[in-house]
């Protein structure tokens, strides 16, 4: 196809996003992605077990730097993501419209909500400690306080339907507090996720903090659920109850923190609350004697 003036547009190759780079799947596999109306959009990488494991390695490597960054810094990086997303608004509106079969106006609403969600979570980076932490009045001469800390590497199966807003709503709460993520994008609607990875790559987010895989959730998620160097898993995008049960049982091997799939298809537009941040935070309590 060509534009009315005869120019042939340059198409994009959609790849994975691992450790800050955009590799193809090591398996060499791709799958055809179509629009909601069935038109060919692109060939996306069909990630393998090896890709998932590489992504975990990259995510683990990024933990010390990202969790050790100041909350102020993480907040600025997330805000920068919102800025970059805003700059590419038109592109995302087109991709979300294609992926979800939306008309331009509702697609724009979705993109705006996704941008605003980054801003919302950006602001939490240096506030969640004060909301969730405490000083504890123990019955003795001790100073005792509790602080939230990131769990570590979190695997996230993104929602199948909401290709951008749903994705942002499960990724931002994981990384804002200092965790790193391995994300399995929506299987049928992966293109906005890969374009989001381009935004992340240009937002001062250190490589490896968010790693994005495209492909079959049923193939990749079991490797993440049973991976001994993954600390937690969010099953938001698992709709098959039997698979969800298998994944939760596999996650028990190293006592991963598990967020079960929602009982009903969630609404992503309303205020998300703190649940998804708290699910991937540990509480550390420190005691010290008081004396002279």
């Amino acid at each position: 196809m060509s534009d009315p003036d005869g120019r042939v547009p340059v198409r994009k190759t959609y790849k994975l996003y691992v450790g800050g780079a955009f590799p193809r799947s090591e398996s060499g596999r791709t799958y055809e992605v179509t629009s909601a109306r069935g038109q060919f959009l692109a060939n996306a990488a069909l990630a393998s077990r090896k890709d998932a494991r590489d992504a975990v390695v990259a995510a683990r490597k990024a933990v010390p730097g990202w969790s050790g960054a100041t909350a102020y810094n993480r907040g600025q990086v997330l805000y920068r993501v919102a800025e970059m997303l805003e700059g590419r608004r038109a592109q995302f509106v087109a991709e979300v419209a294609d992926a979800e079969g939306l008309k331009p106006r509702p697609a724009a609403d979705v993109v705006d909500a996704a941008i605003d969600r980054w801003v919302w979570y950006a602001g939490w980076s240096d506030k969640i400690h004060q909301v969730q932490g405490s000083s504890n009045p123990v019955a003795g001469p001790y100073f005792d306080f509790s602080v939230p800390e990131p769990t570590g590497v979190v695997a996230v199966v993104a929602p199948p339907d909401s290709s951008l807003l749903g994705l942002v709503s499960v990724v931002a709460p994981v990384v804002v507090t200092g965790n790193t993520a391995v994300v399995v994008a929506s299987e049928e609607r992966p293109l906005p996720a890969i374009t989001l990875a381009e935004v992340l790559a240009t937002s001062d987010l250190p490589g490896g903090v968010v790693n994005l895989l495209t492909g079959r959730a049923a193939e990749i998620a079991p490797w993440l659920a049973s991976h001994m160097d993954v600390n937690a898993i969010d099953l938001a995008g698992i709709t098959d109850q039997e698979l969800a049960t298998e994944l939760e049982a596999a996650a028990a091997e190293n006592l991963k923190r598990v967020v079960r799939p929602p009982a009903d298809t969630p609404e992503w537009a309303p205020d998300p609350g703190l649940d998804r941040m708290l699910a991937f935070l540990e509480t550390k309590t420190v005691w010290h004697p008081v004396g002279i």
Binding site: S134, S146, E248, R260, K284, T285, V286
Partner: protein, 477 residues
């Protein structure tokens, strides 16, 4: 070396142990359906104390049904303030009967009376007192307006702090408006059964608290019961894993407080005498039957000889023996099974090349005993540096730099607790930030308080007990 002490036994006449006990279900003590019973013994004498019911699946059914009925008909309809007042009553009765309960705990568990009297029982009462106050303040706890209870909680607790673990489970559950079925450990059921009597004295509505005694099968039937909404477990990581697997695919909320292999890190500038006291308290408190015990001592290389001299000298003054004696520091190992495990891992320690040391120490002829034991020359690969021994056995390792201390401390799948000893404040905070553990004790060890959240990272489990954080485990949030 050392002083001679005259025996100073606490009188056990204050306790009245029945020859047999039933199950506490729906406010009554009832016999198990199939009539099976097992014995509970005093681990310091091997004397049989009583026969206790082994609850089968049908008994568990009855207990869950009683808890459900109490939840629907009574407890969830009570004003929050009334729930709180029941908990205050329980706290007061625990204080009134604390000497009796301390003696009973020591007889059934083997822990020194000094610990059950001065640590366990005061904390038990304090825990109920603390959560009693939360019952009518949940709207202000940070979980949104009007947070709802979950329903029926299945609670399975270990034998190392029987009544204290009961308090950690039951107090927040009831404060949040849940009803409970609790299973005490097989070897230490008596204080939980005494608690049933406290519920009677407090006039707690029947079925709000149910106690089912038994072993692992009873626990499994309880946590896998489809009628429970919440599972809370304290115990081994292995059983915790099985529970996490068994609730997969359900809507049960789960909190797990599991094993540990805590590093207790001593820097060269630490006040030596205080650190030695902290090390002793860290690993020999409660015979080392403590999930957060400081079982890996990491000592800065430049002071290791000096510190070991002091430590060995101090261990020479430790008194092991009759748990009811008020001068006893180390009591009996809780069960022959646990004693066998401690012995096995200690011989593995020797076989793998670590050097074993114990102070001269006469062990009583009857009962289950293990002397305080140090291993030096331990490497990170040794099983005694990796596996939870759950006994009075300390593995000593060394380090040169803070970074190396941190690396070694975090080199474990567990993450329950850690200790840091140094006079340098900035180093304490630097270490505390980087230790992957739920509780960090700096220049102290093994401190507990109802206001202070407790729980693990990594394979030490998830969820917190204590403090405002501990409410979340029992609320639908």
């Amino acid at each position: 070396m050392g002083f001679e002490y005259a025996p100073a036994p606490e009188s056990s006449s204050i306790v009245d142990i029945a020859p047999s006990y039933g199950l506490y279900i729906g406010g009554e003590m009832i016999d198990p359906i199939d009539g099976t019973r097992f014995k509970t013994v005093n681990p310091a004498t091997e004397a049989v104390l009583s026969e206790v019911a082994a609850a089968g699946p049908e008994d568990v059914d009855r207990a869950v049904a009683a808890a459900r009925a109490a939840y629907n008909d009574r407890w969830s309809r009570l004003p929050a303030r009334a729930r709180g007042k029941y908990l205050y009553r329980i706290a007061r009765i625990l204080q009134e009967r604390s000497r009796e309960l301390a003696v009973l705990e020591t007889i059934d568990n083997g822990k020194p009376i000094r610990e059950s009297r001065d640590v366990d029982l005061p904390l038990v009462a304090a825990h109920f007192f603390y959560y009693a106050g939360w019952a009518d303040k949940l709207d202000h706890a940070g979980f949104g307006p009007d947070p709802r209870p979950l329903g029926v909680a299945a609670q399975v607790i270990p034998w190392n702090f029987p009544l204290l673990m009961l308090a950690w489970k039951i107090a927040p559950a009831l404060a949040c408006g849940n009803t409970v079925v609790l299973k005490p450990a097989e070897t230490t059921p008596l204080t939980a059964l005494a608690f049933a009597d406290i519920c009677r004295q407090a006039d707690l509505p029947p079925g709000v608290v149910n106690i089912v005694t038994g072993a692992g099968d009873t626990g499994r039937a309880l946590v896998e019961h489809p009628g429970v909404d919440k599972v809370a477990f304290t115990g081994s990581t292995e059983v915790g894993r099985q529970i996490a697997r068994s609730v997969a695919g359900s809507r049960k909320k789960v909190t797990l407080e599991l094993g540990g292999k805590a590093a207790n890190i001593v820097f060269d500038d630490a006040p030596l005498d205080q650190a030695v006291e902290g090390i002793v308290n860290g690993i020999f408190f409660n015979q080392g039957h403590v999930c957060c015990a400081g079982s890996r001592l990491l000592v800065q290389e430049s002071i290791v000889d000096d510190l070991l001299d002091h430590l060995k000298h101090r261990l020479g003054t430790i008194r092991l023996g009759d748990p009811l004696d008020k001068n006893t520091d180390i009591g009996a190992i809780n069960s022959p099974e646990q004693l066998a495990r401690i012995r096995e891992l200690s011989s593995v320690g020797e076989a793998e090349g670590a050097e074993r040391w114990s102070p001269p120490c006469d062990l009583p002829e009857r009962g289950y005993w293990f002397p305080p034991t140090l291993f030096t020359g331990v490497s990170q690969a040794h099983r005694i540096a990796r596996e939870e021994i759950f006994g009075p056995v300390l593995s000593v390792l060394t380090f040169r730099t803070p970074a190396e201390a941190l690396e070694k401390a975090n080199n474990t799948p567990y993450g329950l607790s850690a200790g840091v000893w140094t006079e340098k404040g900035s180093r304490i905070l630097w270490m505390a930030q980087r230790l992957r553990a739920g509780v960090v004790w700096a220049n102290t060890f093994n401190r507990f308080d109802p206001t202070s959240p407790f729980g693990g990272y990594k394979e030490s489990g998830y969820g917190r007990e204590g403090g405002r954080h501990g409410l979340e485990a029992y609320l639908d949030v």
